[in-house]
Structure formats: structure tokens, C-alpha cells
């Protein structure tokens, strides 16, 4: 297939044709649905918490659940994930403790990253989930380097880099793709083309015929797949994962999908997005499509979904409750982890701060609101 054609397994919208990719049993398919559905619930809750002023910021992945879970299911346990801020679904698929997520959103004392970063910038070492940063694209080079490291050590671990259509314009996309290809490193580059980089539409991001076509520049295979078709995404990723393991080098996968929500809790798409575009994509909602397909295969019932919903909502509620009632990090932790050990320079700055607090009392939290 050329990198401008598009791979699909399921029909759009209302039918249930297409066979499940080899190796996927009924249980697998239900797990995939569960993670997609869970993500939707979590995102709705996250957005609400932000609207209620309980957390400062949230990034939903409405509409991109298939694009993510199809890939997540093709990963192996030892693989390494280099995520962007918009792929929380994969953590849910990997059964991460929800407290990790909400503690991070609050930046409280129990946050495993010690409240250092704004919401959605997780690091979850237990599941091979690397630390997210805001600068777009930087993780792409990291993924290439880690894949090279696995090669050097002779370990079968693939690196999965996640980024958006906007991310393809970054310096690191160019560098990371190029280095990985020259090295034939076991790396899978997941470009979620959700049509927008905040307000910049994909056609202003690049004049290329597709984002997958960018693979040609690096001499690696580029695959374009229907990103709202979880099974097609899985198939493309599985193949790429096998290629990586077999020494065939990296693959670029473009999942064609749509950002069905705002860029983040601070964004209002009505300024730049036509309602019709949104409407046309809503008909292709990946959860609706997969539900219908599963139903056709007798793997879904309303009752199952209702029970699932109840269970997941309770899990979310418990984690929110726990995170919200956990206190903020202690002031002195501000100086930890800059270096392996706190150097004298920072010890001194810490002492001065604590001394001031002893003399003049706590420092007032004056807040601040995030614009994007």
C-alpha cells in the first residue's frame, strides 16, 4: 500500500463487516472496548473537574480513542512508550492505578512526580511510560535513541513515539525519524492526525499528500490508517512491531482521526472550526463504530456496558476523592531532584526560604489560569 492510501478494517458507519485481525479473541476485543470507553468517561470527568475549578487544566482525547488503543494493544509489555499529553487511554489499557493520574492532576504530595508538572504531564515508570514534556516533538528523538540503546544492548524492546500532525513540523520529528531510519532502530512513530494543531488545520501544517508520506524522506515504510477503526490501527501497529523485532527498522504510522473536543480545557474551537466539520466526524465516532461492530459479533450488550460504566465511574470517583483530599507537596521538596544530590548552592537557597517562612509565615498561593 502506498503511504497515501488508507487502511481500514471496519466499515463506516453502521455496518459490522470486516474480520478481527488474527490473534484477537473476544476477550481481547472487549478489553479494547473497555479501555476506549473508560477513556471517554475519564476525559469527561477531567474536563468537568477543570470547569468546576478543581483542577487547573485538562487535555481530553475525545474521538482519538481507537487510534490510541489499537496501537496500545499491539505493544509488548517490555516496550517503551514516549507519549504526548493526549494518550492517557494507553495507561488505562495498561491498568494503571487511577490515583497516579489524579494525584498528578492535582500535583499533590502523593503525585509520583511530586507536583512538578502541570496536569496531563505524567511519568509512569511501572508501565514503561516515559516523562511527558510540553515542547512538541522532543520525545521523538528520545524514542529513536532508546530504540538504538535497545539495539546496542541486544534487547527486544520497541520504542513507541506519540505525536500529532503538528508534531511532524518539529525539529525532533526530522531528527528522530532520520536517526532511527539510518540506525534501523526498533521504533514505531505514531502520528495521530487529528486535523488540528490547536487552531492550525492540517493543510496549513504541511502541503504533503499525507503525513504518512513523510516516511519517504527517511527511507522507512509509511502507513496511513483509519484512526477511528481500532482494528485497522491494531493491524498496522502489529505489523510495524514485527518489523521492528525482525530488524526491519522503524515505521511511521499516520492514524487519520479527529479531535472531537477542544485542544484543551482552555480552548474554544468555535473561533476557528466549522460546525459541519465537527458534525461529519461525529458520525464516525470510534467508540460508536466499535460498539456496533462488537454488537454484530455478539460481543457487546447494553447491560455489559451499563455495568462497566458503573464500575469505572466508581473507580474514578474514588481516585478523585483521594487526590483532592491529599495535601500539597512540602515546600522543601522544591529543591530535590534538580541533581542527584542537593548541592550546597541549593541547600543555601532552601535554608533561606525555610528561614523566611519560619519568620514571616507561609507563602500565599495566588493562583493563575491557563490560557491554552
Amino acid at each position: 500500500m502506498s503511504p497515501t492510501e488508507m487502511l481500514q478494517v471496519m466499515d463506516v458507519p453502521q455496518k459490522s463487516k470486516g474480520k478481527a485481525p488474527a490473534g484477537l479473541k473476544g476477550d481481547d476485543l472487549k478489553k479494547m472496548f473497555r479501555a476506549m470507553f473508560f477513556t471517554r468517561l475519564l476525559d469527561q470527568r477531567g474536563m468537568n473537574l477543570q470547569r468546576q475549578g478543581r483542577i487547573g487544566f485538562y487535555v481530553p482525547s475525545f474521538g482519538q480513542e481507537a487510534s490510541q488503543i489499537g496501537a496500545g494493544y499491539a505493544m509488548q509489555d517490555q516496550d517503551i512508550l514516549w507519549p504526548s499529553y493526549r494518550v492517557i487511554s494507553i495507561a488505562l489499557l495498561k491498568n494503571v492505578d487511577l490515583k497516579i493520574i489524579f494525584n498528578q492532576a492535582w500535583g499533590n504530595k502523593a503525585d509520583i512526580c511530586k507536583g512538578r508538572q502541570m496536569p496531563n504531564h505524567y511519568a509512569i515508570p511501572d508501565i514503561g511510560w516515559m516523562s511527558i514534556s510540553s515542547p512538541i516533538g522532543t520525545q521523538i528523538s528520545h524514542a529513536a535513541g532508546a530504540a538504538r540503546a535497545a539495539q546496542i544492548r541486544g534487547e527486544n524492546r520497541a520504542s513507541w513515539a506519540w505525536f500529532g500532525d503538528g508534531g511532524t513540523s518539529s525539529n525532533d520529528f526530522h531528527a528522530g525519524m532520520n536517526f532511527a531510519a539510518v540506525w534501523k532502530a526498533p521504533c514505531i512513530f505514531m502520528c495521530e492526525n487529528n486535523h488540528w494543531a490547536i487552531s492550525v488545520p492540517q493543510e496549513m501544517q504541511s502541503a504533503s499528500s499525507s503525513f504518512a508520506a513523510k516516511a519517504v524522506a527517511y527511507g522507512m515504510p509509511g502507513i496511513r490508517v483509519d484512526g477511528n477503526d481500532v482494528l485497522a490501527v491494531y493491524e498496522a501497529c502489529k505489523e510495524a512491531r514485527e518489523r521492528a523485532e525482525g530488524g526491519g527498522g522503524p515505521t511511521l504510522i499516520e492514524t487519520v482521526t479527529f479531535r472531537m473536543g477542544p485542544h484543551s480545557s482552555s480552548d474554544d474551537p468555535s473561533k476557528y472550526q466549522a460546525q459541519e466539520l465537527y458534525d461529519s466526524w461525529q458520525k464516525k465516532d470510534p467508540i460508536d463504530r466499535f460498539r456496533l461492530w462488537l454488537k454484530g459479533k455478539r460481543l457487546w450488550t447494553q447491560k455489559w456496558e451499563d455495568e462497566l460504566k458503573e464500575e469505572l465511574m466508581a473507580e474514578i470517583a474514588a481516585a478523585v476523592e483521594s487526590a483532592e483530599s491529599t495535601p500539597m507537596p512540602d515546600v522543601e521538596t522544591l529543591f530535590d531532584d534538580v541533581y542527584a544530590e542537593v548541592p550546597p548552592m541549593l541547600q543555601e537557597q532552601r535554608e533561606a526560604l525555610l528561614d523566611q517562612i519560619r519568620r514571616s509565615g507561609d507563602i500565599e498561593d495566588t493562583g493563575g489560569a491557563f490560557p491554552l
Binding site: Q117, S133, S169, S206, V331, L334, V338, S360
Partner: protein
């Protein structure tokens, strides 16, 4: 005179500059229909069209690099970097190209351009939406580095910057975007980037500051005034080239000096102020030169309010140098 926030004032300045000169063009991420993530470029795309107000691909390297090409061609581009923290992918273009173009070509080619970018904390943005990078730029000969502290200052300095023939890094203190209003003249006017501003006259302690720390220092000055300490505040406006004379004159008068900034301390512009005082006004000094600054750590999320100097930290420092014997 209309009352304006700093956002209004900047937006007004951009409108005026584009009306005045067709060579003024803007480019950046989300500056078009969306009007910028803070709204600073609101209305420009509608009014001046997409040839002069360009939404770009997500590449700061490309935004600054193509703007350099436009400037050499003869335009006056005003690129926006969405957050100062995201300027680093384009840092090479700034340091190697924009800053050195005039020098290396013996004056034959120049880069009259203004890189606008929101700087500093105040929005709970953590590591990557809060940093104050002025020292990186102020250590780069060939650049002008400007940061306003009030709405009127913002408008006058922006108009100076756009029509100046040197490349300018214009740091917008995002904490002040909506921090109260001020009367601002209508129409075109400029403020001299080369002169620091005495934001408050006083005789006991000189407080040197810039950008978003200015109102905090003013609050601190009001507070210590009640204790009989008369503070003089120097608002730097520019950090390169910078107005040492105004600082030194003030210190020679007061004999005591602190520099206040949000940035990390080591190799910062506050260090430069203190070093210059130690070199040129040491004989007038009656106390150590204090630096109130961000800590030498990355900018944190949950503890942002602890990281950023507040009124208490500034008053403590003023009182310390004021009472030093």
C-alpha cells in the same frame, strides 16, 4: 485617554504598526483566526488578511528563520513565539543568525524584526509555560532585549521595537496581560528603549527590576514606606543594551541596592546588575547587593507561588539591606 490592559495596549500597538507600514507582517502559531492563545493578535487576521498575518506550521525554527529571511528582504516581521519556553527550537536562528547578521556582513544586511513572546509565571503553567529567559538573550550581543511593566509602557516600547532597525526580543510579562488598566495615549507614540524608568523615586534603597516584578516591588515599596524606608525603583525596560547609568546614579544616591527578578539566580540579569554595581559603585555601597530571584531549579507547578518572588520576599530583602550596618 482610553483605559487599557496590557493586552489591549499591545493589540493596539500591533494594529497601529500594521496600518502605518505595509512591511510589518506577523507570523506564528494560532495568531490568525484564533487571535493568539492570549488574544494579543485578535482582529489582525481579519483586518490585514492572511498574507500579512500568517498562521504557521508548528516550528519555532521556521517561524524565526523565515522571519529573518523576510527581514533581510526588507520587511519588518513580528513573529510570535507562543510561549517563551518554546523559543529554544529556534534559538540557533536567534543566536547565530538574527543577532549576528549586521555584524558579520559589515552592516550590509540587517534584521529589523521583533520576536514577541509571553514570558514568566502567573498562569499555573509549570516548567514549560512560565520561564523567564531574558538572561539567555541578554548574553547575546546584537540583540535588543525588552520587557515592559505597564500597559502604556508596553504600547510605547512595542512601537519603538517594531520601527527599530535592530532585532528585538520583546518579552511580554504574561502575568500583567490582564493585571489592571492604565490610561494609554491613542495613536502612535514611542518610548525610548535605551533609558530605564524611575518607577518610584526614593532615597534609601534602590530596587532594580523589570516586567512582572515591577508591581510587586511597588507594593513592597509601599509597605516598607510605612516603616520609614524610602525605596527608589528602577524599571529597566531593556536588558540589552542596558542603561547602567540610571542604575548607578540611583545606587550612588542610596548606597543600597537589590535586584528583583523571576528567573533563576545564577548568571542572570540580576547578577549583571549586581556585578556592575560592584564594579562601578562599590565605593558608594553601604550594604551587600541583594538578589531576589527564582531559585536555581526548574520552574515548578504546585509550588509556583513559592518559587516566584512575592511581596514578602522583596520586603524582607529591602529591610535587610536597609538596616545593614
Amino acid at each position: 485617554m482610553p483605559q487599557m490592559t496590557m493586552l489591549d495596549a499591545l493589540n493596539d500597538a500591533l494594529h497601529i504598526a500594521m496600518e502605518k507600514d505595509d512591511d510589518v507582517v506577523m507570523l506564528g502559531e494560532d495568531i490568525g483566526k484564533k487571535g493568539g492563545v492570549f488574544g494579543t493578535t485578535a482582529g489582525l487576521h481579519e483586518k490585514f488578511g492572511e498574507m500579512r498575518v500568517m498562521d504557521t506550521p508548528l516550528s519555532e525554527c521556521g517561524i524565526i528563520g523565515t522571519a529573518v529571511g523576510m527581514a533581510i528582504y526588507g520587511l519588518r516581521p513580528v513573529p510570535e513565539i507562543q510561549f517563551q519556553d518554546f523559543i529554544f527550537p529556534g534559538f540557533d536562528q536567534i543566536v547565530s543568525e538574527m543577532a549576528k547578521m549586521r555584524y558579520r556582513s559589515g552592516g550590509h544586511f540587517t534584521c529589523p524584526m521583533v520576536v514577541r513572546t509571553p514570558s514568566g509565571g502567573g498562569i499555573r503553567g509549570g516548567h514549560y509555560h512560565s520561564q523567564s529567559g531574558e538572561a539567555y538573550f541578554a548574553h547575546t550581543p546584537g540583540l535588543r532585549v525588552v520587557m515592559p511593566s505597564t500597559p502604556r509602557e508596553a504600547k510605547g516600547l512595542m512601537l519603538s521595537a517594531i520601527f527599530c532597525d535592530d532585532p528585538v526580543i520583546f518579552l511580554e510579562p504574561k502575568a500583567l496581560y490582564r493585571h489592571g488598566k492604565e490610561e494609554v495615549e491613542e495613536g502612535f507614540f514611542t518610548i525610548d528603549m535605551d533609558k530605564a524608568r524611575i518607577a518610584r523615586e526614593g532615597k534609601d534603597v534602590t530596587v532594580v527590576t523589570w516586567g512582572a516584578m515591577t508591581p510587586i516591588c511597588q507594593d513592597a515599596a509601599t509597605e516598607v514606606a510605612e516603616k520609614g524606608i524610602d525605596v527608589e525603583i528602577v524599571d529597566m525596560r531593556s536588558m540589552l543594551p542596558w542603561d547602567a547609568e540610571t542604575v548607578l546614579d540611583s545606587v550612588r544616591k542610596t548606597g543600597r541596592c537589590i535586584a528583583v527578578q523571576e528567573a533563576p539566580r545564577t548568571c542572570s540579569f540580576a547578577s549583571e546588575i549586581a556585578a556592575t554595581v560592584a564594579e562601578k559603585a562599590v565605593d558608594s555601597l553601604e550594604a551587600p547587593v541583594g538578589r531576589v530571584s527564582g531559585f536555581d531549579t526548574p520552574f515548578p507547578y504546585a509550588l509556583e507561588h513559592v518559587y516566584k518572588p512575592d511581596k514578602k520576599r522583596v520586603t524582607n530583602a529591602i529591610e535587610y539591606v536597609a538596616s545593614y550596618e
